[in-house]
């Protein structure tokens, strides 16, 4: 094999190896060090360095080197105008310019003056300086030829693209993290706004202060017990907070009436689910079903609810949960026309209305969550909410078990049919 063919094969093999190195993104600096050694090895160059250009710092950060500034971690200054000039060479540079730029670089860095740098190759991608390759003498001690420069430029272009791609990936990852942070921030603001709305809704009704937030929390506990995903649980919590938002358009005198509603007041009051839907449907919620949960939280399984008289599975599951949470809170808090009911009576009400007003699966999930907390299997969240108003909550354990025994089968059958 003649020398030229062998040189060509050696160069070709270096290019092939370099392609493989650059496609390996697992360790950027290792990739760059290997690429740099491939470049040195292609012409048996004795010393050199590859540095990445940091535009903000106006400096080169050496990533790999041999025989040049090996002991320094300090960045090498590179003035903006010099960087711009280097970028103007593009991805190919003439031998004369590469030599001239090497001398210019050494003049700017007296500390490196004892080192011989014969060539400076700018690493340029899309007219932007990505970095530079500094090269010292070859083992052959021959001067660099135009042919050598072509080989080195080809390899350097690969390295430039490798650095550029890596930085792009890093940038995308950074942006994704930044977007996630922004998204989290927006969600936080959204939740805080929802909280503020819930407080505003409850302030309007002086008898039911804290009702919306409690319904949100009860709904969350039930949904979690039913195995809903975190996202769905978050959605139904918000729905609980906002389920009564329609009350904002109901006459204040009706809401704050100290007596049971008259037929006229009931009609006025029954507007609030639809009104709530109208308000919430205009907002682009992260959880699409929130407006429906507000609209249907007074629907009943038997079809005798309002506003649409939906039956059974026509009612969205979330609305069924909010319905129970809403009723539970209504019965366990004082109202202007009655005191809160004893817990036993509340559970009896559940028993009487499961399958007509309430969904058996939701009632069972509520009972299970309640029992799990009493038995210490779950964090006391439901109990902490109920305990504010009741003593000896654990006394209802038999009732909860009875409810489960009565309706678990129905709930299972319903879920199987679905």
């Amino acid at each position: 094999m003649d020398t030229n063919t062998q040189r060509l094969l050696h160069t070709f093999s270096a290019l092939a190896d370099l392609g493989q190195e650059i496609s390996d993104t697992s360790d950027f600096e290792e990739m760059l060090r290997n690429s740099f050694h491939l470049l040195l090895g292609s012409l048996a160059i004795r010393r050199g360095a590859v540095g990445e250009y940091d535009r903000d710092a106006g400096a080169l950060r050496l990533i790999a080197s041999r025989g040049i500034a090996e002991s320094t971690d300090e960045a090498l200054k590179l003035a903006t105008d010099h960087a711009r000039e280097l970028a103007s060479f593009g991805s190919t540079i003439k031998l004369e310019d590469a030599t001239k730029e090497a001398h210019r670089f050494l003049e700017d860095h007296k500390a490196l003056a004892s080192i011989e740098i014969d060539l400076l190759l700018p690493l340029v991608v899309r007219e932007r300086l990505i970095g530079v390759v500094l090269l010292g003498e070859k083992a052959s001690e021959e001067k660099y030829s135009e042919e050598d420069l072509e080989v080195l430029s080809a390899l350097a272009r690969h390295i430039a693209v490798g650095i550029h791609s890596h930085r792009l990936i890093e940038e995308v990852e950074h942006k994704a993290i930044e977007n996630q942070r922004l998204y989290d921030g927006l969600r936080k603001i959204y939740k805080e706004t929802v909280h503020a709305f819930a407080a505003a809704i409850d302030i309007k009704d002086r008898y039911t202060q804290g009702h919306s937030v409690r319904v949100g929390k009860y709904s969350e506990i039930i949904a979690r017990e039913m195995g809903w995903s975190e996202e769905e649980v978050e959605g139904i919590t918000i729905a609980g907070y906002l389920h009564d938002i329609g009350k904002l358009i109901v006459d204040l005198s009706v809401i704050n009436s100290p007596e049971r509603f008259s037929a006229k007041d009931s009609k006025e009051m029954s507007r609030h689910p639809s009104a709530g839907y109208e308000i919430l449907a205009r907002i682009n919620h992260p959880y699409a079903e929130i407006p429906l949960m507000a609209r249907y939280h007074h629907e009943r399984i038997d079809g005798n609810g309002y506003p649409d008289g939906l039956k059974g599975d026509q009612i969205p599951p979330g609305a069924k949960i909010v319905t129970l949470a809403d009723s539970f809170d209504a019965m366990t808090t004082d109202r202007p026309y009655r005191k809160k009911l004893p817990l036993e009576d509340v559970l009896e009400d559940f028993r009487a209305n499961t399958g007509t007003q309430f969904d058996p699966a939701v009632v069972c999930a509520f009972c299970r969550a309640f029992l799990n907390e009493i038995e210490g299997k779950r964090e006391r969240r439901l109990l902490n909410l109920i305990n504010r108003n009741y003593d000896k909550v654990e006394n209802v354990t038999p009732l909860l078990n009875e409810l489960l025994a009565d309706f678990d089968g129905a709930a299972m059958a319903a879920s199987t049919n679905n």
Partner: protein, 125 residues
């Protein structure tokens, strides 16, 4: 005295103040770095002649060449002699083409390499 030692996959043995290091079948980054480490270790322990035996080496890639250039530097800094032995024709041509032979002596076999090593040492009068 001849002794044989094994560090990971690098085989090496000492003959007087010379160290013979055996390169693997493919001199790439992984095997090259092992050889480089072994060479530096030998130089630090006072070895005056490094002989790298390429009897098993079929191919040397660019990273391998770069690592060998690093070994040449290290040997020169330690004023030690570097000899490559048992280099096949293809690799010998590559070393010649790239100018490595300006810094390294090539020997047909280990015996010749050891003989070259002893020639380099000043004789005691």
């Amino acid at each position: 005295m001849t002794e044989t030692s094994r560090e990971i996959a690098v085989q090496a043995r000492s003959v007087g103040d010379a160290a013979i290091i055996y390169a693997s079948d493919y001199l790439n980054k992984l095997s090259g770095e092992r050889i480089e480490r072994e060479c530096r270790r030998q130089l630090e322990s006072g070895c005056r002649t490094l002989i790298i035996n390429f009897r098993d080496t079929e191919l040397v890639n660019s990273i391998g060449v770069s690592i060998l250039v690093g070994v040449i530097d290290a040997a020169e800094q330690n004023t030690a002699r570097l000899i490559f032995s048992d280099v096949n024709n293809h690799t010998a041509n590559l070393f010649e083409m790239l100018g490595l032979t300006r810094h390294v002596s090539l020997a047909t076999n280990e015996e010749e390499a050891l003989s070259l090593a002893s020639e380099a040492r000043p004789r005691a009068s």
